[in-house]
């Protein structure tokens, strides 16, 4: 009457056993690139509480790798799994609740407040209407990054360091397990870079996040990174220690 698959066991395939050691991010035989392949046969995993630093020369494919993981660029071959789900099968909105992405772009519009930037973090949950829960998340993110004093400043009045804090608060408000940041320290001075990496490490450990940061700045990230993913000559190498440049 209901066909052969009436027994409930046939519908239970969505139940997965999740253990602490399941990777948040898993890259399987991934090839990336916009038109031609830049990096191929990438195999990598990232776990909870990892701060992964992505290094490599200019044009080596750091941004492309981050954007491929974020689903902004399609991979040439291979798969990206986030908490066990392939990103090519996830709807965009679901993906936005699992993964947050911050680009290098600095925005200076004179009508956007710091607070508005953070509020966009709740966009995948409640678009423009603030629900009670979304305003709570936003307040939490603002408090965590310590930007309560500058929340009403417009973006043309804030420093690059303050902008990056707002940016991080935004990705925190997005409530995702995985955070990708493309060169967050590009415009910052040395003390601000140190502070930023310290903050990121703290977020990783206390908020149970996985963060992947691309950077050229190996000096200030030292001591905070769990692993280095170093792209060299079209291959991704996973290093325990900071990569040394061969000149």
């Amino acid at each position: 009457m209901y066909g052969a698959n009436w027994w409930p066991i046939h519908y239970l395939h969505f139940i997965k056993k999740k253990t602490v050691m399941d990777p948040i991010l898993k890259l399987v035989n991934l090839s990336i690139g916009q038109e031609s392949v830049i990096v191929d046969s990438i195999h990598a995993q990232a776990f909870k509480n990892d701060l992964i630093v992505l290094t490599g020369e200019n044009g080596s494919g750091k941004s492309t790798l981050l954007k491929t993981i974020a689903g902004i660029i399609k991979s040439i071959s291979g798969e990206v799994f986030i908490s066990g789900d392939s990103i090519s099968l996830l709807p965009q909105k679901k993906l936005a609740q699992k993964l947050a992405f911050a680009s290098t772009q600095r925005i200076r519009e004179d009508y956007i407040k710091i607070e508005d930037v953070v509020r966009f973090g709740q966009f995948p949950y409640a678009q423009l209407d603030d629900t009670e829960e979304s305003s709570r998340e936003i307040e939490q993110a603002i408090a965590l990054m310590g930007i309560d004093k500058i929340r009403h400043k417009y973006l043309n009045q804030v420093s690059d360091g303050e902008w990056q804090k707002a940016n991080i608060a935004r990705v925190l408000a997005q409530k995702t397990d995985l955070i990708l940041m493309d060169e967050p320290t590009a415009f910052l001075d040395y003390p601000s870079r140190m502070r930023l990496y310290r903050d990121l490490k703290e977020i990783c450990l206390t908020q149970n996040k996985t963060i992947i940061v691309s950077t050229h700045d190996i000096d200030s990230v030292k001591g905070y990174a769990s692993f280095y993913w170093h792209i060299d000559q079209g291959k991704l190498n996973i290093l325990q220690d900071s990569p040394t440049w061969v000149i």
Binding site: K67, A70, G71, I72, Q92, K93, L95, A96, Q97, L99, A100, F101, A102, S103, Q105, I107, E109, D110, Y111, I112, K113, D116, V117, R119, F120, F123, P124, Q127, L128, Y154, R170, Q174
Partner: protein
């Protein structure tokens, strides 16, 4: 505070509506006994006022969408060549209707305007996706304007005198040519365009953080851009088809609204743009039909005289 400001703007708009419909160039009371003046009021002035209202709102909303989409405060339907595209299509229709009389129909003209506008918008989208959206799309718009005016010259050469005069008058901009069914069609399509834009405004506001970040926030940026372009095509194309290519409203008003209301709530901004755009169109209409020099000044002259200096101000301010 912002709602307070918007309501002031709204009352200003109502005042302008009243002046435009009843008081300029001379007062006509709607309550006096029937006569030629009341006839004038219902069949000429009120349609003109309502047309100005919709045209102003449509143009400034489409200007707002284009400026946000291309993140360029100088963009607008006129400067990107969208109005020129609509113009050329309408010109072809008006002048071609001498040879194919069935073309000369209000609906045909608005369809031509929409097609012309959307074609140029798709070209602009193509250019901006390859070369970015800075000065290049503005230059592109200027060049499109030159090309369409050259083609227009060719059309004018082929035209018969009556059609030529019709087309020339149309290109000076006027709110008084739209009546009865055309007015209804114009109003409904403008409203539909604005409602469609209203529905996707949150997604457009997320694109403030850049297209890539918007994508990671769950916005399908390609689909949203395309939908917005079609909206803009409907709004600016049909407004241009009915009222002629009207300059400056689409560029100046979004900047004014952004200065007055600093908010990322784009649905609110859409309302503000609609109200202020309609107000500017009504002011232009009031100046145009107040017979300062003893005759009606074309609407385009008024919008240019109000909007031009303002754009120069924006440019100088941007330079700092």
């Amino acid at each position: 505070m912002q709602v307070y400001r918007l309501s002031i703007a709204f009352f200003g708009l109502i005042t302008l509506l009243t002046i435009s419909a009843f008081a300029i160039p001379e007062w006509i009371s709607p309550f006096q006994p029937d006569g030629i003046k009341v006839d004038l009021l219902w069949n000429y002035r009120l349609p003109k006022t309502i047309t100005a209202l919709f045209a102003g709102a449509s143009l400034s909303v489409s200007g707002f969408i284009l400026q946000q989409l291309y993140k360029n405060n100088l963009a607008g339907p006129y400067i990107l060549g969208v109005s020129s595209g609509a113009s050329l299509a309408v010109g072809m229709l008006i002048i071609g209707s001498h040879y194919f009389p069935f073309l000369n129909h209000g609906f045909g003209i608005s369809l031509a305007g929409f097609i012309g506008a959307t074609a140029i918008l798709l070209l602009v989208m193509l250019v901006s996706s390859r070369f970015g959206s800075g000065a290049i799309i503005l230059l592109f718009g200027v060049i499109i304007g030159q090309i369409t005016s050259a083609l227009q010259g060719l059309l004018n050469y082929m035209a018969v005198p009556g059609d030529l005069k019709n087309f020339t008058l149309w290109s000076m901009g006027s709110f008084s040519q739209v009546i009865e069914f055309d007015l209804l069609f114009f109003g409904v399509s403008s409203l539909l365009g604005i409602i469609w834009a209203w529905l996707i405004m949150p997604q457009l506001s997320a694109m403030l953080l850049g297209d890539e970040v918007a994508h990671s926030l769950g916005v399908n940026t390609k689909s949203i851009s395309l939908q917005l372009l079609i909206c803009t095509g409907i709004l600016s194309g049909i407004a241009t088809a009915y009222c002629g290519p009207i300059a400056f409203i689409g560029m100046a008003i979004p900047n004014v609204s952004r200065m007055l209301f600093k908010t990322v709530n784009f649905r609110f901004m859409l309302l503000v743009n609609g109200v202020l755009g309609a107000a500017m169109a009504l002011i232009s209409d009031i100046i145009s039909s107040s017979e300062i020099f003893g005759f009606n000044i074309p609407v385009n002259v008024c919008t240019a005289l109000i909007g031009g200096p303002f754009i120069i101000y924006i440019l100088l301010k941007r330079k700092q």
